[in-house]
């Protein structure tokens, strides 16, 4: 689905006369191979290049070096960008700044309208997309009356209506309250399972990473760790070196292990923790 090799991107800052003032190498030799139907999380502290990679995948930015293929389209070719944007939709962080229309259903229709989909088909797609994110009841509301989580689900519906193969979400929950966060995360999990849509979730919340198939950790423009959540979180020292946290239970198990309690590495959920703990210590 998404394949990158030696991908690099440089932001070039210029002063008023257009002279180069500084170069930020935001991506540096990134190799990626994301399979169709995967649920992948990208982690990394601020400025590690996560948003840059998202914009590369959406062909908003063109690679400075290396190649990136999305759905077998080369992102550096101008003629491919509309196919790429149709097959890899993008959801941004701020729910207010990505909704275009002042009626929910018209906003969902915006993508298919741009693609030139016939009217009858648009109506079907809008109804279907709203159904999938559970927002059918709000189709005639104004986005201004919705909560943050609901707005993000509308944004997701707007992407779904374009029938993408993959959705890239750049910190979609960063501005939401815990409830809104849960809504959005469970929506994308459902889309991944039921529709087989490839999900690329960029996030700062470790708890959202636990249910993923694969985790990619970035630091300073490079991919520094890759693997299943269990593999990644079994290496707490390495994680901390890249200025990231562990999920709370994992952290607790890790601290206990340091104090001499017999706990396995890479515990991801409270249930697992309880299971591991009781199987060892119950009745003692």
């Amino acid at each position: 689905m998404i394949k990158a090799s030696k991908l690099a991107y440089e932001y070039i800052r210029r002063d008023e006369e257009g002279n180069v003032e500084g170069i930020v190498r935001a991506l540096d030799g990134v190799d990626l191979d994301i399979k169709s139907g995967d649920f992948v999380a990208i982690l990394g502290h601020n400025g590690s290049g996560k948003s840059t990679i998202a914009k590369e995948i959406n062909a908003i930015l063109e690679p400075t070096e290396g190649v990136l293929f999305v759905n077998n389209y080369d992102t550096s070719k101008e003629e491919n960008i509309w196919d790429i944007r149709q097959s890899a939709g993008m959801v941004f962080q701020n729910p207010d700044n990505q909704l275009v229309a002042s009626v929910v259903e018209e906003d969902v229709a915006f993508g298919p309208e741009n693609l030139g989909v016939p009217t009858d088909e648009i109506i079907l797609r809008v109804a279907e997309a709203l159904e999938k994110v559970g927002m059918t009841a709000y189709r005639n509301s104004s986005p201004n009356h919705l909560s943050g989580g609901q707005k993000q689900r509308i944004a997701i519906a707007g992407i779904l209506a374009m029938k993408p193969k993959c959705i890239v979400l750049d910190e979609p929950t960063a501005m939401l309250d815990p409830n809104g966060r849960k809504e959005v995360i469970s929506t994308i999990h459902e889309l991944n399972k039921k529709e087989g849509i490839t999900i690329l979730l960029i996030t700062h919340y470790m708890d959202e990473v636990v249910g993923c198939d694969k985790v990619i950790v970035m630091d300073n423009g490079k991919v520094v760790m890759q693997g299943t959540p269990r593999e990644i979180f079994s290496r707490p020292d390495e994680i901390k070196k890249h200025k990231l946290d562990l999920p709370q239970v994992t952290e607790l198990a890790d601290e206990l292990a340091k104090e001499g309690v017999d706990m396995p590495k890479g515990i991801l959920s409270i249930d697992e923790f309880v299971e591991a703990f009781t199987s060892r210590y119950a009745g003692k």
Partner: protein, 270 residues
Amino acid sequence: MLRDITLGQYYPTDSVIHRLDPRVKLTATLLFIVSMFLFHSFLGYAVAGICLAVVIVISHVPFRFMMKGLKTIWFLLIFTMIFNIFLTDGTILFQWKFIKISQEGLLTAAFMGLRLFFLIIGSSLMTLTTTPNQLTTGMETGLRWMKVIHVPVHEIAMMMSIALRFIPILMEETDKIMKAQQARGADFEEGKLMDRVRALVPVFVPLFVSAFRRANELAMAMEARCYRGDNGRTSMKPLKYAARDGIAYVIMVLFLVLIVFTDKIAALIF
């Protein structure tokens, strides 16, 4: 409260007028405004008034609600009438020192006032029965021919609909910034005019910065959703004329003919 700004106050209810194609309503409003200048007889005012009254009744918009929206315009209306009363020469009915009131003055004032009143009611009827979104689509579709003379119709319509979406958001933000500045001791209510204007600078600077950031993000989100201007764009709710729209056009023509001939008929009768 700020979340719900509606331009020209849409009155949501169901009526034939509400269901008419926005292009019909735009044309009708234009025609009505033009027709106001086509007659001079008393009969003309009666015909226009009756027609307007009939449309108002069909629209299900309560007359009281319409009046409420006209508060600020009453002043203009009364002002015009007073000017007409005192500044028209003719048979004098009443005189006190330099103030004179003539018969002609009273008549022109009454007619002038009535004409303005009709104009205002007629055009507010359009905004009361058409949502801003419908108006935008109506203008985009109805004025599409203007593309031939290089008027960027689609772009203007898109700007209007984005403005409609972001005006309430920016209003709320202004409110937030003002409160934040007040919490830091800013005073927007007191002081001389210049001081008050100066106090607004720390409100508008962050507001502009934020508006530009929003614009930048929105543009990116629109591009990510394959927006490329008007090229090959379709619509979920394309405007389609129904039978009632045809009937409305016929009624419009009849009205126009009637108005044009009232002067002649009036001359025959009186």
